[in-house]
Amino acid sequence: MSALQLSHDELLKVYRTMRMIRRFEERVMEEMGTGDIPGNTHLYAGQEASAVGVCLQLEEGDYISSTHRGHGHSIAKGVDIDSMMAELFGRASGTCGGKGGSMHIADLRKGMLGANGIVAAGAPITCGAALSMKVLGSRQVAVAFAGDGAMNEGVMSESFNLAKIWNLPIVFVIEDNGFGEATANAAVSAGSFTRRAESYDIPTLEVDGTDVFAVYSAAGEAVERARGGGGPTMLHVHVPRYYGHYSGDPDTYRTPEEKKAMRQERDCLVSFRRRMKEVSLLEEAELDAVDQEVEAAIDQAVAAARAAPFPPLSALTSDVYVKYL
């Protein structure tokens, strides 16, 4: 896929969404420092091109499921950043009414089946979403995002098998940032991820996850296969993770040089801008204007979140059931 095949507006949207995710994450990290965002969050910064490249191939009615590192996928799928920010602040106006938090952001209206606090749990749930589409006769598809660490949970393999035997319209996107928390993937994973999927006769693609066009193109192939009734595909996407595993992680298992090099050489926003200059498709000034627009949107989301009330105490025991008695 070359940049030339996207329209001017689409290119701007790609940049805007990647930039939005990056600034959202940077701002969340800052706000964590104020103590106003409770708990901890897992930041997606560095991996933007993966979520954006994949979700650009999706329609509003398509489903995605995410991981504990779910902000990027949510934003790329079109979840409103105001309600996401409010959710992080634990406010009633949040996507989940303040009851979910960072690890459980979900918005079914946008096809976002939820971030997930349980590693790999999204894969079988997404098989279920794909099954729904198939049984209901829709042409929608489902995408399950998971990390390299998740690949070692048995339920991933079980999901591959199910997806294949049921010929489900699903794409597994394995975002490999080289680490599961503080443990290097190389220390805990045998063989190759693509070969694992291939052993279930699931076609695979290996992708540079800092190149949004490469991701877009691979996702296009996978989504087309799924939509056309051709069954599952697995994308193995290589991405950098800019921050520690979570917002409080001092990240001492990676050297400062390694982290610096990662940011200098594998930044999807920098390479996007460079590419645009090379092919003269977007002006610097246009991109700068997007930066400002994003900045303002995030300022506004934070201000609104801060001003919003916490959930009423009655919310503690509501929503446990649709109806109990």
């Binding site: 708990g39 009851k99 997930n116 050297t255 916490f310 919310a315 503690l316 025991t317």
Partner: protein, 335 residues
Amino acid sequence: MAQKSFRQALNEALHFEMARDPRVIMMGEDLTGGAGANGVKDAWGGAFGVTKGLLGAFGPERIRDTPISEAAFIGAAAGAALTGLRPIAEIMFVDFAGVCLDQIMNQAAKFRYMFGGRAKTPLVIRATYGAGSRSGSQHTQALHSIFTHIPGLKVVIPSTPYDAKGLLLQAIRDDDPVIFLEHKMLYDTVGEVPDGAYTIPFAEARVARDGKDVLIIAIGRMVSVAEEAARKLAADGISACIIDPRTTSPLDEDTLLDFTDKIGRVVIVDEANPRCSVATDISALLADKSFDALKAPIKLVTAPHSPVPYAPNLEDAYIPTAAAVAKAATSIAKR
């Protein structure tokens, strides 16, 4: 005696027992922080720093980082326990036991019984539990009631650094599978802990505070909440006795019954959901065996029947408070 944190107390127990018994091994996610960049190791010492320093002392053969694959490594730990090792496996958050419940509930817990008593499973599963960290519904549960329900498992839930060390040493030396639950919010609490090794037998409740008007039975972290309540009650002229069962399976029924007989008024405090729980179990025991001694209804102070919420105000309302305990105690003290 030296003042040490709960975390330090556990770390000492692990150090001591691994040094004493070469069959003791450990496994879990990020126990050492894996082989990161340039082979840097022991970056974390487990998600909560409890296993820090063990890698240097015992090497990667005996303290190993696992893939994120609870069913596989908990099952492997159970198999190793069955065949000569004494593994300690760590489930980072007890919520993740959902992934490997089969290995705990249908395998490890049943080996001895199903094999006609011809097997031992000296396995310790350490896991963190509990609310208070603003981590949302899947990282904050208190699941001791579920494990207590399963025959074959022993369940330990310490409330002080001193108990944490003594009970962990006991757990590692026990020949049955033990679920050892550590409340995340207790790791930094400090108390007196001897340098040397000592064990605390199972089914031996601790009298955390003596008193005569109301008996408060509190589980795990709720012991400190009960203590705070007892101070409030004392100011109102009500003398509260606090008992910490320390193990919910086996349970020290005798002590709980003796004190119930003596005091006749009981409040049970537990952070777990209320239905089919340790709190209801103890309540049923007392009602069954000490009914005649009861001077008032048994009061339960627990979390509501809901998942743990994320919003700070809701999570605070979820966790039983000292005020709620004091209120319950007051309501029965004068009856």
